[in-house]
């Protein structure tokens, strides 16, 4: 029986081939997302506020519900939940302030230079500053202790202009961000907006 001494080594050829294949796969995936401009959105929240600014939003299948949710500062903050089935947003600017482990703050900016198309938008907003226009607006009240069903506001279509929305939860089933520009900048302090 052979009693050899085991020792490991990295075969450069295999390593380079695997790395190249991996980088190619990564490049392929980024290219596909970049060409179609389609992405599955990342829900953001739970750490400070998340700001959404845009010039105009045209949406259909609008629903507004009361919501209590966790924010970066509180376990249960009153909010409103916006649900829009389909929306087109013009000049979208999303930014999020993040604290790095070093203690410095950075801001991640996502800007849509072309109209952004969103399907299945869910957004828990803590503060909304905007001009709103509804079509076939209806308010429904229900005698129930469940605060999420106590009242709802629905509209066939909604047009929001010059909006600044402070939100703590954002989810999109599908988002088409054509001409998106993503940038990271260093900031001194995070932006804070207190509810009036």
């Amino acid at each position: 029986m052979e009693t050899g001494k085991p020792i490991g080594r990295t075969v450069k050829k295999k390593f380079m081939a695997a790395l190249c294949a991996g980088l190619l796969a990564l490049g392929g995936m980024v290219t596909v997302f970049g060409m179609t401009g389609t992405a599955f959105a990342l829900p953001l929240g739970g750490m400070g506020d998340f700001y959404v600014q845009f010039d105009k939003l045209e949406g259909s299948g609008f629903q507004l519900l009361p919501q209590v949710g966790e924010t970066g500062d509180s376990d249960a903050s009153p909010m409103v939940r916006n649900k829009i089935e389909e929306a087109t947003v013009y000049n979208l600017h999303i930014y999020k302030d993040l604290k790095l482990p070093t203690g410095k703050w950075i801001r991640i900016n996502i800007k849509g230079t072309e109209p952004t198309k969103i399907k299945g938008l869910i957004q828990d907003a803590r503060f909304i500053e905007a001009n709103l226009q509804f079509n076939n607006l209806g308010i429904h009240e229900q005698n129930t202790n469940d605060y999420t069903k106590n009242w709802t506001q629905t509209a066939d279509t909604v047009t929001i202009t010059n909006a600044k929305i402070v939100t703590d939860y954002l989810f999109q089933t599908m988002v088409n961000l054509q001409g998106a520009k993503i940038s990271i900048e260093s900031i001194d302090q995070p932006e804070t907006t207190e509810s009036p």
């Binding site: 001494k5 020792i7 080594r9 295999k14 990342l42």
Partner: protein, 179 residues
Amino acid sequence: MGDAAAKAEKKQERLEKARAKLEKRLEKLENAGKFKAWRSRRPFWGATFSVLAGLLILYIPIQLYAIAFVPGSFAFIGLLFGGLVLILGVLSYIFPQFSTVLGVITMFLSILSIMGALGGFLLGTLFGLIGGALCIGWEEHVIAPDANGPDQMNRPDKGEKAKTNPIDTSEVASSSSSS
């Protein structure tokens, strides 16, 4: 025929060089500490990069813990990918004989982690790719004590467990000198 002979000669030369390198490393390991000996028997850097990648990929979903457990949330998928990459990195330390498979899965999950975790600001994906590639490129060789030629340098069977005792190269050195 001449070409084939030349090729075979070149191949033998390459193997001899590789063997000489490994023998040198074995000699160095003789006086090295336990950690170095342990490190030499597994894809240490590949596993380390994979663990780092897993932690970086997990960073974003952990920051979003408040919503990461919402069903259907992409942050939950990020949590899953990051956790799996981390586990695969740890497994590479424990089961070096499966380094190729573990490396391939690490690379695959690192790329997918762009969805749901932004690939740990892409750094996690890059670390995962490097770690996975290092695991794939890693090979374990056994140098027989009575080795006298390049053919004696073989990879052990996949299922064979690496020896955990500190490597003694004295036999290799003596057998080489006696030949």
